[in-house]
Symmetry: T
Subunit: 71 residues, 12 copies
């Protein structure tokens, strides 16, 4: 293994369905512009309330991705 | 937007089913006595174990709600 | 209630399905070797990304279990 | 000094002007319903952005107040 | 066990005698207005100094109590 | 509301005048290259001292902005 | 001093009497199965409430002990 | 009240007896060289173990004291 | 640049006017007895409440200053 | 000094040799795409184990760099 | 990849030479009794001082290892 | 062992060579003015970047030293 460098980008994925889906949505969207996604780490779970329902989950994540040599 | 003030109440929602349901249950119960619920933030995820099963999820949350002028 | 002592063991449960299932898997595995499991507390939620999918959830937990007198 | 007990309430004061004014606004509003306010502690400074301006400051504070004997 | 919800209230118990007594005093006072107290968690230990003596202990605690159905 | 994703960028705004102005300066500069700024959160307040004066305030902030579909 | 290695075990000592006694009880119990206990560090102080009394103190501790060469 | 400035000094008080006594010992010793002690805040509770006994409590504290005008 | 060493002193600056002025006051006072002040970092913002007004701001800061060779 | 703005990028530098080399590698790689690097701050030290050897050090760092006027 | 479970053990590696060597020593010792070591994470760097020299480095680490099916 | 009191001083040691050397330099300098140094604890690792090199390591440490009876 060579001395790879990784960059960490912080995003917020959202979903009306729950924590897992908000994670999934955020990573999918990040993958549209970032290559070589490698891992994620949840740093916060919040959400909006409409009436008395958790109407939108907002999961803050750090996403790590490998930098290419010419990137 | 006027200079609104919000209050934050800390609760523990519980459920045998999982994290999302415990959040949902806690917010619904809080909404029985608090008006104008606005957002929630998860500050802890715990649970009880029965045998070798996660038998009850306990999600600690801060819930923010807007104070009315005459409240 | 006598002056019981508990020990806390830190594990990482994993699952391709989501946070709840990773918790469940970890506790089940811990219960194969530890007796009297009592509670768990999630201390980290991470995961691996394959392509643009959260392909494996990794939930770090502290698990508390009661020590027996002759243990 | 007798063995007084204090309660801590968490609020979010807001203002378009800045951090100090958001603190001032929040405490004034809290004082409409709570007696014997004693101290505050800032636990978070956030805000909304409109265009490229910090358009609204939101200061989260813990406010301590003394409980009366018959309260 | 049904899906109970708990609320967490933060208080500061005080005593000239020490940490344990400050905890005891704070919980007793909280119990005058809150029903179904269940657990406490110490979040800070401070105090005042008079001359060169720890003259008053101030223990900040979170106290959890169960919400009733009609509460 | 659709399942929007937000990105969080961390910056340091500076000013010789004070905390509010350092926040304002940092957000204005960030808005030159980032679109759809939405919120900020202060994560650190530091500064330089010249002689015995706080000669330059440095406020570290996380700034959240919404990602567009084709961004 | 040679290059000793230590292991850290996390336990919860309990007592109806107070913080010091809960620490004492937990260490005594840990010493029944672990050799060469060296230091402890308190990481949390909680307890149960019965009525309006702190009926059981629960002190979470990390306990460090030296590993022997053949251990 | 004028614009007083306070300094915070960090010390470790020790005692074989318990947490309260370690706090008391540390403050008394600090008072031999520092004037105008005002408050303390416990930032850590550790100790040494001899055999299976908590043989020496070590309480880390921050102590605040008021600076005089010509100090 | 040689291998300079810095010392960090923790103080609390106060002011009835606001956060910036409390920082300024604290640093000015620290500069009466410490030479070569270099930077500050805010570690806490608290204050006293009189009636329903934030009557006194108390900003805890770490101040770094360079040690001279013969100091 | 004008009111410069800095951006903070989080990276993970790696090396089989140790902490210092992992820091050096990460910064060198970051400097290939970012101009005006100014400071770094280590936020985590992890690594992989192969057999019983720390085979690869992974140092997470925040790197601050000054934004140019037209950047 | 199946749903593996990992356990995390906390140890303190020591060395008179420096941080890297203390990490190396601790992992080597842990590998004498634990199989399938996978990763480590440094959670604290301390040391003893003899005269004016850092005479012994003590690095606290969490070490993760994979549990076997029959373990 | 009598009831010794320790004081903790926070310093920043620096070096162009690496983390270990910065620790060593800081402790040596502290030992010129403080007697009875006992332990250190690293609380932060930062540094300056020149071009694309970590040109100067800055290690923040707490240093504990025993107070003499007449000190």
């Amino acid at each position: 293994m060579s001395d790879r460098t990784y960059r960490i980008s912080e995003i917020v994925g959202t979903s009306p369905e729950g924590v897992d889906q908000a994670i999934t949505n955020g990573i999918k969207r990040a993958g549209q512009t970032l290559r070589h996604l490698d891992w994620f780490e949840v740093t916060g779970i919040r959400g909006q309330v409409t009436g008395t329902d958790a109407s939108h989950y907002q999961v803050t994540m750090k996403i790590g991705f490998r930098l290419e040599d010419d990137e």
